[in-house]
Amino acid sequence: MELELGLALPGSDRTPELGVHGEKRASLCRKRGVDEMLAKATLPLFIQKDNDEDGDDDSRQSKHLQELNFSGSRVLVGWPPVKMWRRKSDDCGRRRANCVKVNMEGVAIGRKVDLCLHDSYQALFLTLGQMFPKKQHDGEESDAAYYKVTYEDEDGDWMLVGDVPWELSVLKHQHKKAK
């Protein structure tokens, strides 16, 4: 590893680059710098000093440091320039899947069901009926009603699905079993 010495503001990139006109330009290294900067007591002095100087580079850097210092976080206001409305929509547009694992007795490979895409137990049972093979019983296919769907609750007990109103049960992100 090469040892390099350089003059730069604390928290800035250790290898200052030369700007077009040959002046020192230290680029901000966000990922590493913040913790160091916030810990250093000398930082405010550097900012005061830079405001008195005419150096353009320094004032630009000190503004960034100010942003980081005053806000306490490394996110710049309004950057990148993505509309507020779009950001909000992204948050609710992203699928927040509420998937549960479903295993059927006698079937080695389980399935996953996204509870968010269902609005009732009927819808869920319909989907489960499509996901798992129908059991042959005396040569005839039996219906989905033959199956019991159970889930494991927080106490570790196996409970029948369907007793609790749908909205409440969706909150429980549990492992279901179809017998």
Partner: protein
């Protein structure tokens, strides 16, 4: 004016009015109005469409008085950077003053389009009551109103043709606002409610659109489930522009085939948008209409590259594509191969604040599009890396750009191969694209790029600059060049007082200048305000520490500065964080 001879009297006024009706642009009508008093008089009486780019540039009453026959008005309020939270929420842009003046002087108003303004429910009620033949309401990026205000519009505007709500903040306090459209109401052509956050009564909506035979545009909001889309589409097979609601449901083959046939039944579909929560399951339901699409907005869908490619390669006639960066370079290469008629591309960041998983969307995608799409003229591109070489190639491939907005998400990012600033690349863009009207810069940039822009960008009307430049010279190059510059917005650049004061006169030729987190002092702003009475110099200082602004010394730094030309003088609705210097 030729001495004594009133040549305008050669023809009756009606003939001149008819001649003026052929002047398409407001600028042309403005020029005609300056020729002589007769033309001024005739032109003002016959102008029926007015555009006010800055709501504070003129007193509403004055505008209404000058043009008494206006039927269509468009007004813009807050500065563009308000979209990114840089403008205080109480800054201004209220619509009341305008709506009251218009209600008074333009009772025959038919169209009102407002952008970035604060519109209250009272305003909406006033509109609903006062304009008897109101036909078009378009609100873009506005706030301050609720669905109760929309109910008033629905109940009273008997001839409403367009209700276009685009990206507004709307409070949801009246669930049944749509039920306020009377049963006899059947005139809708455009209904865009995509920005509403609340539940929509789909049955009421079905009945409403079912009785509007001229409905061409329907953009639903996120709450409309996919199952109900089928029923809605059956009622409006003549639709040209569809914005879906939520585009996800658990896979049911029956729903899929119903959806597929409902969409296929809309034989005139040219534009699709919405696609909230879209996944690969239901996307193929739209394949049948892809060939006819000219506009596709997938920017709210977190679809992955392969799904996007499968869809977009079918859209051979696409002219406009808005998509997430999840499309990646490979996807853009496929777009370049399939969409030869593409004119406008916007690529939005799926994860602007983290670098969660590196997405392979780089300069290669942009280059591929520039090479494959000869009609491309408008680009918005968010990415994380760029090279001068790529920009030079893009500039060579696309000399017809009118709008080029590149956002490299990390500030000060240099050419990642040469580590040089991106001056050469952006200079190539402005030198090659002689018709460039709008430009947004990003990446590591020195004053050199501004020298090129000032010298070459003769058609440039709007320039957005962030984290760029070395010093005053950069701003000076822009203000002393760019002869058609109308809007300049700058943030986090080391530009100070000198270029502003040296180019004060330029500011009167522009609509507005925004500067935030730069190196401007209060003293310069005071000087500028004294020197230029036709400018409003607004200093915005949100951090209220120390003395009030009047008592601060000249060397006090200015956080945010908004300067705009106006014939209305200082506005009277400034909040406490805004000072207008005189």
């Amino acid at each position: 004016m030729v001495g004594g001879f009133r040549w305008a009297a050669m023809f009756p006024d009606e003939v001149w009015e008819h001649v003026f009706s052929f002047l398409p642009a407001d600028a042309d009508r403005n020029a005609a109005a300056l020729v002589c008093r007769a033309w001024y008089r005739i032109e003002r009486r016959s102008r029926w469409r007015v555009f006010v780019g800055n709501c504070y540039a003129v007193e509403p009453a004055a505008a209404v008085r000058r043009f008494p026959e206006v039927r269509a008005a468009a007004i813009k309020g807050k500065p563009h950077f308000a979209d990114f939270n840089l403008v205080p929420s109480d800054w201004g842009g209220g619509a009341e003053a305008w709506v009251e003046a218009m209600a008074e002087g333009w009772p025959h108003l038919e169209e009102l389009r407002l952008k970035r303004m604060v519109v209250s429910d009272d305003c909406l009620e006033l509109i609903a009551r006062c304009f008897k033949n109101f036909k078009v309401l378009s609100l873009v990026s506005c706030e301050g109103f609720s669905t109760a205000g929309l109910a008033a519009i629905a109940a009273n505007c008997r001839n409403l043709r367009e209700l276009d709500l685009h990206e507004n903040e709307v409070e949801d306090n009246c669930l049944h606002w749509m039920s306020h459209f009377p049963e006899s109401f059947a005139s809708l052509v455009t209904l865009n409610i995509a920005c509403l956050e609340g539940e929509v009564n789909v049955s009421v909506l079905e009945r409403l659109i079912g009785r509007c035979p001229n409905l061409k545009t329907l953009r639903l909001n996120h709450s409309v489930p996919l199952e109900r889309l089928v029923g809605l589409l059956h009622r409006v097979p003549q639709l040209v522009d569809l914005g879906t609601g939520k585009f996800a449901a658990q896979h049911h083959p029956e729903l899929f085939s119903k959806l597929e046939s409902a969409i296929a039944g809309c034989k005139n579909l040219k534009s699709l948008s919405g696609f909230w929560e879209a996944g690969p399951t239901y996307l193929p339901a739209i394949y049948s209409v892809c060939e006819g699409l000219t506009s596709l907005n997938l920017s709210y869908a977190t679809l992955q590259g392969p799904e996007l490619i499968k869809l977009i390669s079918r859209c051979k006639n696409l002219q406009r594509l808005w998509v997430m960066d999840l499309i990646e370079d490979d996807g853009l290469i496929a777009v370049a191969a399939s969409c030869k008629l593409l004119q406008e591309l916007r690529v939005f960041p799926s994860d602007p604040y983290g670098a969660a998983q590196p997405i392979s969307l780089t300069e290669h995608g942009l280059v591929a599009i520039s090479a494959g799409c000869p009609m491309l003229h408008s680009v918005l591109y968010f990415c994380r890396q760029m090279t001068n070489a790529a920009l030079l190639t893009v500039a060579k491939n696309c000399p017809n750009f009118t709008c080029f907005r590149l956002c490299i998400m990390e500030p000060h990012t240099p050419d990642y191969i040469t580590r040089q600033p991106l001056d050469a690349g952006f200079s190539a863009i402005v030198e090659s694209c002689k018709h460039l009207r709008r430009l947004s810069l990003s990446g590591l940039l020195t004053d050199l790029v501004f020298k090129s822009i000032g010298a070459s960008a003769n058609c440039l009307e709007m320039l957005s600059v962030a984290f760029a430049g070395d010093g005053d010279a950069g701003l000076h190059y822009i203000l002393s060049g760019c002869k058609n510059l109308r809007k300049l917005e700058i943030r986090d650049c080391p530009f100070g007082d000198k270029p502003l004061l040296d180019n004060a006169a330029k500011l009167e030729t522009m609509r507005s200048l925004w500067m935030s987190s730069c190196s401007v002092t209060l003293g310069a702003c005071r000087q500028l305000a004294r020197k230029m009475p036709l400018l409003n110099v607004e200093v915005i200082n949100e951090r209220k520490r120390g003395l009030p602004l009047e008592l601060q010394p000249d060397n006090c730094p200015v956080e945010k500065l908004y300067i705009y030309r106006t014939v209305a003088g200082p506005r009277s609705d400034t909040p406490s964080c805004v000072w207008i210097l005189r």
